[in-house]
Each structure stands twice: as structure tokens, then as C-alpha cells.
Symmetry: C2
Subunit: 140 residues, 2 copies
């Protein structure tokens, strides 16, 4: 998707009614909620960590809780439930005793993983510069 597709003037813009429109187009509600959709997926720390943890294959609930320091049962459960709802992870319950449940990425989830890793690449490349920028800003 190009930027011009994402950012589009609302059809039959009434901008001039309210004010002189500036040099730039306006995000319409559809695209704003589109952004919201993305952030619901990857704008959340726990989701990212869960997806990253599942990169190697199926992992069971208690191992996820172990692998992700600081996550509460509540948030782990909620995160997994949402990821399953979105079709990013698959849940498999084995009818054993004690019960065993494994989670793994779906192909969709795997494709998201690679995209998120691209973001991690960017961050890894630039976080030193960002830290410098912050220190310079805070010093000035």
C-alpha cells in the first residue's frame, strides 16, 4: 500500500467550509481506525513478546509465562486469546492429566513476525542514535 492510498482526502471534502485547508491532506476515519487495527496487533508489548517467543515453534502456556518475564497470568491469557481470535496463533489442548496446552504461530502469525523483525532491525540500527538525541535534548 502506498502512502497516498493510506492518506486520502475524504470524498468531497468540506474542509474549505470550516477553514482554509493546509498543504496536507487529512486522514479520514477509515484510515485512522486502520492505524488503530495495526497498533492493536503490534502496538502492545505482550503481543510482540509472545509472537517472538513462538518463533521457534509450539510452546506451552507455562513455558510462555516463564519465557516472558514480568507478564501476569491475566495479560498472558488475554494476549493469547486475542492473538488466537485474530488467527495469529493456534491453540492446541491435549486431553491429558495434568492438562497440556501448546500455542504456535499460524502462517499469518509467522508473516507478521518477519515484519515485526524488520522493525526490530530498524530499532537495533538506530537506537543508539536515538539515545544520543535524547541525551542531547535533555541536556540542552
Amino acid at each position: 500500500m502506498s502512502r497516498d492510498e493510506v492518506r486520502r482526502r475524504p470524498s468531497n471534502s468540506r474542509a474549505s467550509v470550516r477553514r482554509v485547508p493546509g498543504p496536507c491532506a487529512r486522514w479520514d476515519d477509515e484510515n485512522a481506525s486502520f492505524i488503530r487495527e495495526i497498533l492493536d496487533l503490534v502496538g502492545d508489548k505482550w503481543s510482540v513478546l509472545v509472537i517472538g517467543t513462538l518463533a521457534d515453534g509450539a510452546v506451552r502456556y507455562s513455558d510462555l509465562a516463564y519465557a516472558i518475564p514480568g507478564v501476569s497470568q491475566r495479560m498472558l491469557t488475554l494476549t493469547l486469546k486475542q492473538l488466537k481470535r485474530d488467527g495469529l496463533v493456534e491453540r492446541t489442548a491435549y486431553p491429558e492429566v495434568p492438562p497440556r496446552v501448546e500455542y504456535q504461530l499460524t502462517p499469518l502469525g509467522t508473516s507478521l513476525l518477519s515484519t515485526v523483525l524488520a522493525l526490530a532491525d530498524w530499532s537495533a540500527t538506530n537506537h543508539a542514535e536515538i539515545r544520543r538525541n535524547r541525551m542531547a535534548y535533555d541536556a540542552g
Copy 2:
């Protein structure tokens, strides 16, 4: 950065002291806060919208407020301040009356833009499937 660099067992792991470690490694605190750093940048709706709006070039404050529906003055100001602190946008104030202030992406901000657009690409490609998944989940 590869996943194995991001996700690394803490040095001299004491995992076996507490419990039998699962099949997967554990995120250490450094990498968890690394994730947090990314999300502070792109996990926020307003930041993403501001960066997207600045894609074409310099935009002044009031035009940003117009271009981004629903943003409050408070959040726009805070978002711009943080983006400036991180060195993603540049602020230029013209000593005129009435005052005029323009914001534009730095090269660093532009590089982040392309990465975020990759995420938008993924979302555009897959959001239909995600919606189907959700509907199927909610129906079942």
C-alpha cells in the same frame, strides 16, 4: 538483528534453580526494555499519524491538528515534543507575528517512516483475513 540476538538466555542462567526450563529461551530485561523502546516510538497512534502526515514535507502545527482528526492539542504537543526529543522530527519556529512553526521529518524519521509503511503493507495485505478470523471466532 537476528532473532537469536534479540532473544538470548541471560548469562549464566539460574533457570534450573527455580524450575525445569522449558524448550524456549527467556527474554532478558535488556531485550524486554528494547521492545518497550520500539513501542514507545511506533506503538502509539498519534506518533504514527504524525509521522505519516509529515511524509510529504514540512507541516505547521495547526495543519497537523487539522490533518489528524481527533487529536487533542495536548496529545499533539506531547507527541511532537517526544518525536523531537528522539530526533525523528525537526521543529522550525519563524519569528513572525502571528507565530508560525513548522515540523518536518529528519532523515532518521524518514527511515522510520519507510519501516512503518512496511507494517502498513502487511496490514493492508492481511487485514481482510484478520477480520474473517475474528468473525469466525466470535461466531463460534
